[in-house]
């Protein structure tokens, strides 16, 4: 596998040859990134490759912690008129940074002489960075929802394969739960992530909504949302599902240690699951379908250029962004990290990658991604829903009342958040 991976990397970049810089001399830039492990190392490799090709324009890659850590640092750096020239950025904060003039509109660069043809890219992914006719963010490490499951536990419970529908999913969680002779839970059918993102796909595919894209209609107490949370609350009450605390390793640690049979995650957990799971055979599948079929919430991050970059730095920054978004780079990144090769060209460049059924399943999710990042983008809606669903699952709170209160709170907070400054 390592040899194949090495060979495809060399083949992918073979045409690049030696140094080919035509960038302003001495226009070094800094790139802030998130993600550690394979997903971080692969980015550094791509940076090193860019530096080899452009010896006069060095890119320095700096790891800044999680997506939210990076956004916090970017916020303070921007306020101090400092910081990087290019940054990786999750979808959560694009709107705030773009509206405040921190990010460069990439549209003129995309349409310029050294442009970027995104006509073959999924519009669902491009939509996240488009605000008021401008483009402030381009997708790079695209994440899709992935269900990980314990194959041995499925076999022991007599389950033929991953659940096809959400109704199956709830039933399977109950069947997979194991109790000891005293009635204490040995294995939960499901360990839940304590964030909104995985639940979005569940809600959307069953026909529910949390908000529309411009936040004029907040519906945290949508009947579908209420029904889904009542079902999840029942699972937690029965011991079939758990919401582990983040500090103790969260839902992933529960799955990896064999204490939970299923988790709703993204392919970000890919290398962790397949290298660290012990005592059982892990497998992955797409999220189940709902009444509206498969509708998935996209995730992951992308790239943005900071407005504080000088014209020389912008030239280097744009060259770097183009390098990272070339089909070869996306294909390399997909192979190394498990993230999605989201363009047709990158999938071709990835060669036999999709022969692996795990990668194939991840890429099967692409057509079902929905062009709607709105919940990700508003901290007000996200905070209100996060707190509400945790209250419902951890404190066994009344579902309808809790969601009504969260809805009212989100509506008030959104007005405040989106008011012009």
């Amino acid at each position: 596998m390592a040899l194949v991976s090495c060979f495809s990397f060399l083949a992918a970049f073979g045409g690049c040859g030696g140094p080919q810089s035509s960038l302003p001399s001495g226009s070094g830039i800094t790139y802030w990134r998130t993600l550690s492990g394979a997903a971080g190392d692969a980015q550094d490799t791509l940076v090193a490759r860019f530096n080899e090709q452009h010896p006069d324009s060095k890119v320095t890659s700096e790891f800044q912690g999680s997506y939210s850590d990076l956004a916090t640092k970017l916020l303070t750096a921007a306020a101090a008129r400092r910081g990087p020239q290019v940054t990786q950025l999750g979808t959560f904060e694009i709107r705030q940074f773009a509206k405040s003039g921190v990010l460069v509109d990439l549209k003129p660069l995309m349409n310029g002489p050294n442009g970027l043809d995104t006509s073959g890219w999924p519009p669902t992914l491009l939509a996240a960075g488009e605000i008021d006719g401008s483009v402030y963010w381009l997708p790079f490490n695209v994440a899709v929802p992935v269900l990980y499951f314990n194959q041995d536990a499925f076999a022991a419970a007599g389950l033929p394969g991953p659940p096809e529908t959400w109704a199956d999913f709830f039933e399977y969680a109950r069947k997979l739960t194991r109790l000891d002779e005293k009635g204490a839970v040995q294995m939960n059918g499901l360990a839940l992530w304590n964030i909104t993102w995985p639940l979005l796909s569940m809600i959307w595919s069953e026909g529910g909504e949390l908000t529309n894209r411009d936040y004029t209609d907040i519906t945290l107490n949508d009947p579908v949302v209420i029904r889904m949370l009542i079902d999840l609350q029942s699972l937690v009450r029965e011991g079939a599902a758990t919401l582990p605390d983040k500090a103790s390793g969260g839902h992933r640690a529960a799955f990896l240690s064999g204490r939970a049979a299923m988790i709703l995650d993204s392919q970000d957990a890919f290398s962790e699951v397949f290298t660290q799971a012990s005592g059982f055979t892990p497998a992955l599948a797409n999220y189940p379908a709902g009444a509206k079929g498969k509708v998935y919430a996209p995730g992951g991050g992308g790239l943005a250029i900071l407005a504080s970059a000088t014209p020389e730095q912008r030239a280097t920054a744009w060259a770097y962004v183009r390098h990272m978004l070339s089909p070869e780079s996306i294909a390399y990144y997909a192979r190394e990290s498990g993230y999605v090769a989201f363009t047709e060209e990158s999938r071709r460049a990835a060669g036999d990658l999709l022969q692996d059924p795990r990668y194939a399943a991840i890429h099967d999710a692409l057509p079902y991604l929905r062009a709607d990042y709105s919940v990700n983008m508003s901290p007000a809606v996200r905070n209100a829903f996060d707190e509400a669903f945790q209250k419902i699952l951890v404190q066994n709170a009344d579902v309808q009342a809790t969601l009504d209160a969260a809805d009212a709170r989100a509506e008030a907070a959104v007005k405040e958040e989106l008011a012009p400054q």
């Binding site: 916020l75 921007a78 605390d245 945790q390 404190q395 008011a419």
Partner: protein
Amino acid sequence: MLDAGRRPLARAFRRNGREWLTFLLFVGPNLALFAVFTYWPILRSFVLSFTKWNLLAPAPEWAGLANYRRLFADPTFWRVALNTFIYAVAVVAVAQACAFLLALLLNRPLRGRALLRTIAFLPHVTTTAVAALVWVIVLHPHYGPLSSLYAALGVNGPNWLESASLALFAVIAVGIWKEIGFASLFFLAGLQGLPADCYEAAALDGVRPLSRLWHITIPLMSPVIFFLLVTGFIAATKAFDSVAIMTEGGPVYPASSTYVYHLYKLGFRDFQAGLASALACIFFIVTVAITALQFRMASRWVHYGE
């Protein structure tokens, strides 16, 4: 001295110019640092508290008292204020009581006393981040020593960090653990400086040990207790690191959030610098008021040996 006091300032400065220069040389650098890194931010924060600003817009927008009105109407504000009060009272009271007893023990001629003193002080020199991580392991519901203890006792113990009603107490435990070492060091230094003649006289009068503790040791130690109460309370109200690492204010926010963590969340996670500044100003005023109250009450029970 009296004459000098009546002289105009300029004349005094001319006559004592050298002394003034020396004074400024010593105080100036410190004052400059305080002005830039403490007084200016306090002033700026006060001004920002009357604005709406996301830290990114070119200029803050004047909002009058809107931030203060919004905070006082927000149940989360009152919850984090209550959490912080519970945290501070619990940490200061429990840690100081334990530290005092520990200092009494370590002040006795014990074998390996130096080692025991080092062990007692170690939690304080450990960074809060590391201490919090250690406690996450201790409290881990499946692999922690506490879960092994529950299993040995045959009970199904609670999951501290997953429980909205217990998570704050897990954070308090870290605060107490770290504070005990620091306070015990001060108590020990205080105990070693107590006049021996008081104890000799008490021994001659046949005063019992508990009575000696109550009527001699505690009154003589009252300045140290007062110092630790004031500084301990101020430090405890600023709790942040352990919350950030152990719970992030959850499991159901703000179940275990503290005032400063909430301030950080509003300012740097939710892009509301004006609101966070208002929170900071309220915090400043309340802390100064509580400290002033502590000083006012100190005259009733702190004895400086005059």
